[in-house]
Symmetry: C2
Subunit: 128 residues, 2 copies
Amino acid sequence: MDTMGRHVISELWGCNEEKLNDMKWLEKTFVDAALKAGAEIREVAFHKFAPQGVSGVVIISESHLTIHSFPEHGYASIDVYTCGERIDPNVAADYIADELEATVRENIEVPRGMGPVQVNQKKVVKAL
Amino acid sequence: MDTMGRHVISELWGCNEEKLNDMKWLEKTFVDAALKAGAEIREVAFHKFAPQGVSGVVIISESHLTIHSFPEHGYASIDVYTCGERIDPNVAADYIADELEATVRENIEVPRGMGPVQVNQKKVVKAL
């Protein structure tokens, strides 16, 4: 299997705070995001913290999706990492940002498995 | 909880190929790495692929550690992400690189949860 991968680091602010604290909703949203990108799901593990916040991961055949949510700050820290050229991680990252109703989104894309790392894209979107 | 986090992206080459394909060994090594850094473990999920390769995650109270291994290339793609100032993700990342016997290591550190992302460190080490 080729080592080439694309890793999208997505910083989401101004998200819906209730959704950020709803573990079951987040789990379903991340599974849906992986499927919409065309990924094959292997493992799903989510954890709810007290008094608030959720961490979760979906391991896919093509690598992983993760979230750490901070409802009290409207912030979610997202990673979508896909190996190979078949899948675009931005499809999943954009779906997650839309579903979380993020008003400020910053995405950077890091190539993985291709030698020296270069951060090659940067996108900041502020919703009106 | 503060959103501030440190995310170490670690690209390891020239690793021990047998270790890269040993799911149980990798799982124990990642749990040990998290504990050595002083993290609190919440969830552990690893998956072995056929014919080779392992993906795994350890969710910690302070965020996560992940691996995707490509034994046939001697390559492992590692992420260690820790929230807060108490834990240094490099402690875990360096332990993992040592245990995998990586001969070429590239680490970059990405600050998370602090507004616009800036990649602020880069370290390439080639073992002699």
